[in-house]
């Protein structure tokens, strides 16, 4: 199970990077970035998985005893929550930027924003 997710995660990371590095359209690049981020989140979640563990929500009585051996790791899950929100913020901001860039040059091609160089 965890191998599937972690493999998927890494593949999504690579796909995201591919998009960032090859696409010309800003929106696609942002999507690529989103993919990259998501891939990392998936990798993070994979870390949390413990064979045979259940979600760390102690809504059943039996979970309250020897909890540590029955649940999956809550920490990466907490981390991924934070990471997702951060990714959301960054993506939102990037989109805002893309909008403004489009207003500036009426183009979404990343090649057309090279006023600063060298």
């Amino acid at each position: 199970m965890e191998y599937i997710t972690i493999t998927t995660g890494f593949l999504i990371i690579l796909a995201g990077l591919w998009a960032i590095m090859t696409r010309k359209n800003l929106i696609r690049i942002i999507i690529g970035f989103s993919l990259f981020d998501t891939g990392i989140h998936i990798v993070m979640v994979s870390m949390a998985f413990v064979k045979g563990g259940v979600a760390p929500i102690l809504d059943k009585k039996e979970l309250l005893t020897d909890t540590a051996h029955k649940i999956v790791d809550p920490v990466p899950q907490a981390l991924v929550l934070t990471a997702i929100v951060i990714g959301l913020g960054v993506t939102a901001l990037m989109l805002a930027y893309a909008m403004r860039l489009h207003q500036e040059k009426k183009s979404l091609d990343i090649e057309s924003f090279k006023d600063l160089k060298w």
């Binding site: 960032i20 893309a98 860039l101 090279k114």
Partner: protein
């Protein structure tokens, strides 16, 4: 004391509270923000004071659990210093950006506040994921602040920044989660204990963490986005990024480096070195001020990374060194960015406009000198300590890299500064002054001086520095508004009094040089009375140079010596660049000086290595690769004496300087280099030293320098350049003399030192005064001035006779001693070259006196007056010195001989009355003078008797084949007089050295021009750089 966690409370609370401030009360929002930052500053500042006074560091636990189970923060000494610094600069930056923030509205104010708060937490946090979160806060806030003052460029820069930092933080996150996976903890101390680097995957996780932090520091070459943001954003934001963010990130790196383990030290240092050198080389080609500052910031961070990488080597000194560099960078870079915002000029050539408000120029100079590491700024002491320790531990390649990078930095910063001082500024719009923008700049400038002073007090060697001359300079600087007459009097009295108080403490060797520096200084300052007005800026810089010179003489330890050396360099740089056309020459002077100073620094480092002391006596017993050490010291000093190969700065610098500055920099300043060489050669162990090849090479260098300097002088059309080249030649003699390492050679050298001071001061002062009258340097535009300025002519005549070494005047003493020394030493070919140089010298001397004073008087000079009395006073005082020396050479040579006898005791020179005897020959100076003068007088009397009725004719009463000349210009043979000699010897005048240095310069600039094309401006390629950087570091560090 209040818990540091309330920084968060204040920062976030303030930010959230800002939401309630009505949109229209713009001032209220900005003031609230400043108050919040100030409050954070007070909080951290109180911690700083407390921790300095011995309180223990405090751990802050959140959520009531101990780490590693909850996030904890640490407030230690380092943290308190850095958070205080961040809040301080944040406050100043807030003040600077007051208007921008106010106009941008509440939201922008919030962002700024959160930015500062985020940096505080980044510094304090001890949890790696928390670090990630707050790093994201900082970078998102940065992305927001970039567009504070919106332009197309800033938005582009912001987007690239977001893209790049997005990738970097993704990588960081990946690293963090795997680190957690391997170690089971997110606490930095826990991770340190877990030593995850030892595992296969763990090492990669560690690599990802480290590399992403390094990338966040905008390491070369994956830093195009960083440069864009420096260039694209508001200057005030640039200042924040460069000062505050970089400071915080640097501390993060140091935190994580502990976690990564000592094997990472090397890699961090390596990446730092690549970054430092690469970024500074690339900056060479840069002409946009803010981007230039960006390159420089990245370079400085690279340097700091090197320091971090060597923290084991530096040991307890690491904070001292790191903070020294960091604070110089922090204040200076913030100041420069702010200045960039005030001046509002992109192209560095347009910065000439800053001169319209001179105190801004002063501020800029302060920052630039602080960045390069001149005294009295903290970076000077830090760099000193760094180099000393690195050399001490044998890390020479690193020192070379550091010094090379610093050199490159000096190139572009001084080029920029040169534009500011001397560039064309008539057509550039003046900039406006806003008080809220000046205040922070002024504060950081003052802070630089203050921190510099306190940094110096930190070490024993630094505490020994005599600050009195500098305070005198500062006092003169404050009194700069006074007229010349008053300042000049103060300066002369001050110098005279200082000389009077210190001369009893000096040994004879130092007394000779101190007398040249001080008495020469006073005499040349007397000439300053000829100037009118306030002559702004002259006295502080002139006295700065003299302060440096006297510090060199008085130096008890090598740090003091180097301190004085750099002060002198700075002072003389400003003096030189005062000339009308001296911008390029000022630059090359500075670069050679800086290069020489670095050679010196390295040499002194080698002296320090193995001896562990800074006392001046360590030069006498260098044990660590002494050949190199002495060689480097000599090369360092040779840049000041303008030996061939290192001379190209001199002609322009001396030639274009002001009339009374030329003698200062030629007759006096060059002796500082000689003093250094003397010290080095003494250190090498006198006659039977263990390094025979060094003096041998030095001797040849001196001879060839004498030859080519003199030959070049022959072909000059510019009187002052002629004298400048002549100085090169004369210094060649001096170097040759000392290189002989014998009693006679040294006596000859000393004789030349005294003599060169006397006659070169006379010549430069006189020619300078003439130039002031006729307003041109070109000799062919003068002529026949003997009729108008007989006193000046007499001075020059005596000066050139003394220089040429024709008996009976004093120059012959040196020549005579030289030949005896040469015969004794067996350096015949050098001696022959020297004699040949003397013959060549004769040509330029004749040219000097002929084309200026003899021949035809030009029409427009018919009414020029005799040179100013204020020039004549020092000139004739010096002439009196020459005459005394000529008639009674034993009065000068015997004391000099006693000095030399300390190291070269065997008395090859004996005195019998007024006659000097060596093994080879004899010379009775007084008798020769009497004989010649008597013969001269008898012949004169005879001629006067027989031509008593001579008719005095005018300038065109010459035989002209029955015709009459048309104009003085066409009758005066002055232009290209030595064409024949040139046709015979043009081969020797090819400026190979200059070509070589030009090639070097072109190569570096071309390299920079090519390499910097990787910064294509495309955000995507920056991502590729980042990924490549990770890949390369992976393959280099972990290796496949």
């Amino acid at each position: 004391m209040i818990s540091p966690i309330h920084i968060l409370t204040i920062g976030l609370g303030g930010a959230f509270a800002l939401g309630f401030v009505p949109k229209k009360a713009k001032d209220a929002a900005a003031v609230l923000m400043l108050a919040a930052i100030a409050l954070m500053g007070v909080l951290t500042g109180s911690w700083l004071i407390g921790l300095i006074n011995g309180e223990s560091a405090q751990q802050i636990f959140t959520a009531g659990f101990k780490p590693p189970f909850s996030i904890n923060l640490l407030m230690g000494l380092n943290e308190s210093v850095l958070t205080t610094a961040v809040n301080f600069i944040g406050l100043l930056g807030g003040i600077y950006l007051y208007r921008n923030l106010k106009e941008a509205g509440n939201h922008a104010v919030m962002v700024f506040l959160i930015f500062i708060m985020g940096l505080n937490v980044v510094i304090m946090t001890r949890d790696i994921f928390n670090l990630f979160v707050f790093l994201e806060i900082v970078s998102i806030a940065t992305a927001g602040l970039v567009i504070l003052t919106e332009s197309g460029k800033s938005i582009q820069a912001g987007f690239k920044y977001m893209l790049a930092t997005g990738i970097i933080s993704g990588v960081l996150l990946l690293g963090i989660i795997f680190a957690y996976y391997y170690s089971g903890t997110l606490n930095i101390d826990g991770l340190t204990a877990a030593n995850i680097g030892a595992l296969k995957g763990g090492s990669v996780a560690l690599l990802l963490i480290m590399v992403s932090i390094i990338l966040e520091l905008k390491s070369f070459p994956a830093n195009g986005w960083g440069l864009d943001i420096y260039e694209g954003s508001n200057a005030g934001i640039g200042a924040m990024l460069s000062a505050a963010t970089a400071t915080a990130m640097y501390f993060v790196l140091s935190k994580l480096l502990e976690m990564a383990g000592s094997e990472w030290n090397y890699w961090v240092a390596l990446i730092g070195a690549v970054s430092f050198v690469g970024s500074n080389v690339l900056a060479l080609k840069q002409r946009i001020a803010k981007r230039l500052l960006g390159y420089s910031s990245i370079g400085q961070i690279g340097l700091l990374m090197i320091i971090l990488g060597f923290k084991d080597v530096l040991g307890d000194n690491t904070p001292y060194v790191a903070f020294g560099i960091l604070f110089s960078h922090y204040f200076a870079k913030a100041g420069l960015f702010w200045l960039a915002g005030i001046v509002k000029q992109n192209d560095i050539a347009n910065w000439a406009v800053i001169r319209k408000k001179p105190y801004f120029l002063f501020l800029m100079g302060t920052f630039i000198f602080a960045l390069i590491g001149f005294p009295p700024f903290p970076s000077f002491f830090a760099k000193w300590e760094l180099v000393m320790e690195l050399v001490n531990t044998g890390n020479l390649p690193w020192v070379v890299a550091i010094l090379f990078g610093s050199m490159m930095e000096a190139v572009y910063l001084f080029r920029w500064f040169g534009y500011a001082i001397k560039g064309e500024n008539e057509n550039i719009e003046d900039f406006k002054i806003e008080w809220n923008k000046i205040l922070p700049v002024g504060i950081v400038a003052i802070a630089l001086y203050v921190t510099g002073y306190f940094t110096s007090q930190h070490t024993d060697a630094g505490a020994a520095i005599n600050w009195i001359p500098l305070f005198f300079v500062a006092a003169i600087f404050i009194l700069d508004f006074l007229p010349v007459f008053i300042k000049n009097t103060i300066a002369i009295i001050g110098m005279a009094f200082y000389f009077y108080t210190i001369y009893p403490d000096l040994d004879n060797l130092r007394l000779v040089f101190e007398a040249i520096f001080m008495i020469g200084g006073i005499l040349t300052l007397i000439a300053g009375y000829a100037y009118k007005g306030t002559r702004p800026g002259f006295y502080p810089v002139a006295l700065l140079m003299y302060a440096g010179l006297t510090t060199i003489i008085e130096a008890q330890n090598t740090l003091q010596f180097f301190f004085g050396w750099e002060l002198m360099t700075a002072g003389s740089y400003f003096l030189i660049i005062r000339g009308k056309r001296s911008m390029p020459h000022g630059l090359s002077y500075m670069l050679f000086s800086v290069g020489g100073a670095y050679a010196l620094l390295m040499g002194l480092g080698m002296a320090f290595a193995g001896q562990g002391s800074y006392d001046m006596s360590i030069i006498n017993s260098i044990s660590y690769i002494p050949y190199w050490a002495y060689g480097l010291l000599i090369v360092g000093f040779l840049t000041k004496t303008a030996a061939l190969g290192l001379h190209i700065w001199l002609p322009g610098a001396h030639g274009e300087a002001e009339s009374d500055v030329s003698p200062m920099v030629s007759a006096i300043l060059l002796k500082a280099g000689v003093f250094g060489i003397v010290l080095t050669l003494i250190g090498m162990g006198g006659e039977n030293n263990a390094y025979p090849w060094l003096p041998y090479a030095l001797g040849w260098l001196g001879a060839i320098t004498a030859f080519s300097g003199n030959l070049m002088a022959v072909f000059q059309e510019d009187a002052k350049r002629l004298l400048a080249y002549s100085s090169i030649g004369q210094l060649g003699y001096i170097v040759l003399g000392f290189a002989m390492m014998s009693h006679l050679g040294w006596l000859g050298g000393f004789s030349y030192v005294v003599n060169h001071f006397l006659y070169k001061a006379v010549l430069f002062l006189t020619i300078g005064a003439v130039v002031l009258r006729v307003k041109t340097h070109n000799m062919y535009e003068m002529g026949g001035l003997i009729k108008r300025m007989p006193l000046a002519f007499t001075a020059v005549m005596i000066g050139i006779i003394a220089l040429s070494g024709v008996p009976p005047l004093s120059g012959f003493a040196g020549k005579w001693l030289f030949y005896n020394a040469i015969l004794e030493k067996g350096w015949y070919l050098q001696g022959a070259i020297m004699f040949f140089s003397g013959g060549i010298a004769f040509m330029y001397l004749w040219r000097l006196i002929h084309t200026i004073f003899l021949g035809q008087l030009k029409d427009n000079h018919r009414n020029v007056k005799e040179i100013s009395i204020w020039f004549l006073i020092p000139i004739y005082t010096l002439l009196a010195g020459i005459m005394v020396y000529s008639v009674k050479p034993q009065w000068v040579l015997q004391p000099l001989g006693d000095i030399v006898a300390q190291w070269f005791p065997d008395g090859q020179l004996t005195w019998d009355g007024g006659t000097a005897f060596t093994k080879y020959g004899h010379w009775a100076g007084t008798a020769v003078a009497v004989t010649i003068i008597a013969a001269f007088l008898v012949v004169t009397a005879l001629l006067m008797i027989s031509t008593r009725k001579a008719h005095k004719v005018k300038q065109f009463d010459i035989t002209y084949s029955g015709e009459r000349p048309e104009r003085p210009e066409t009758t005066h043979v002055a232009y290209n007089v030595f064409e024949g000699l040139y046709q015979a010897m043009w081969v020797a005048t090819i400026p190979l050295v200059e070509k070589w240095w030009n090639k070097v310069s072109d190569f570096l600039h071309d390299t920079a021009g090519i390499v910097r094309r990787i910064y294509s401006g495309n955000g995507q390629s920056y991502v590729i750089h980042i990924v490549l950087f990770i890949i390369v570091t992976y393959f280099v560090i972990i290796g496949g």
